[in-house]
């Protein structure tokens, strides 16, 4: 995973990878950002949980409604007050809301 490519996304503040259990593996922080490795370590655990829940919901939605197009899941994002975290697989990026390009972020994570 090339975290530097994720850091090239508009408004990127941090990029990271994590294990299947949610342990932070590697990360890059934008100079001057208030985000810390400790924050990312907590964030990665919620990323694993949210992806698992979203995957369950996608599976259940398709089974119940007969509608397709949700699986396989391509990612999840939580939009906070000032920044958003976008994750897929075992990697994620934190982006400033005012500069956020969600599509580019999902695409970058998909390609990674």
């Amino acid at each position: 995973m090339d975290l530097q490519k994720l850091m090239d996304l508009p408004g990127a503040l941090a990029a990271f990878t994590y294990t299947d259990k949610g342990d932070l593996q590697s990360h890059v922080l934008r100079e001057g950002t208030e985000i810390t490795a400790q924050m990312l370590d907590l964030l990665t655990r919620s990323c694993v949980a949210n992806l698992a829940i979203a995957s369950m919901e996608a599976r259940g939605w398709e089974a119940l409604t007969g509608q397709g197009g949700f699986q396989p899941l391509k990612g999840f994002s939580v939009v906070g007050l000032e920044w958003s975290v976008v994750v897929n697989g075992n990697a994620g990026v934190v982006v400033k809301n005012r500069d956020a390009d969600y599509e580019a972020a999902f695409q970058a994570l998909q390609a990674a």
Partner: protein
């Protein structure tokens, strides 16, 4: 123009609506049945509560870190994306630039979600939910 009408006017938006924010009410337009819209409303409410709970924990570790209150969330599917901002949701196709446009409109029309979101979501519990929560 009302946010749901504005969203439905965009090619590629499958459905949009207001989910159960303060109780059981929900409304929608687009390619959903009443039952599917009810299910979508429950799903959106559950996810919103979940990510807000996470942000509260996050905030206790790193106060005023910029995550709280949560404004919304996005589930990116293979061909369909579900977005929620405040008490509104939309199901959209994965077309180029559509997600960014929809998020921009939803954030602009809903405005910044304030700290009373959880109090409103739990209002059906009765009593002083604000006091119970905080």
């Amino acid at each position: 123009m009302h946010i749901v009408k504005q969203l439905m006017a965009i090619p590629g938006v499958i459905a949009a609506g207001e989910y159960a924010y303060r109780g059981d009410r929900f409304s929608y337009q687009g390619a959903l049945t009443d039952e599917f819209a009810r299910m979508a409303s429950i799903l959106c409410r559950a996810n919103t509560l979940s990510v807000n709970m996470q942000s509260e924990i996050f905030d206790s570790f790193a106060e005023n870190c910029g995550c709280r209150p949560v404004q919304g969330w996005i589930v990116r599917g293979a061909n369909v994306t579900v977005c929620a901002v405040g008490n509104y949701f939309s199901f959209i196709e994965n077309r180029e630039d559509l997600l960014n446009d929809v998020m921009t409109i939803m954030r602009a029309k809903v405005g910044d979600v304030q700290d009373d979101l959880l109090a409103n979501l739990y209002a059906r519990l009765g009593g002083d939910t604000r006091e119970a929560l905080y």
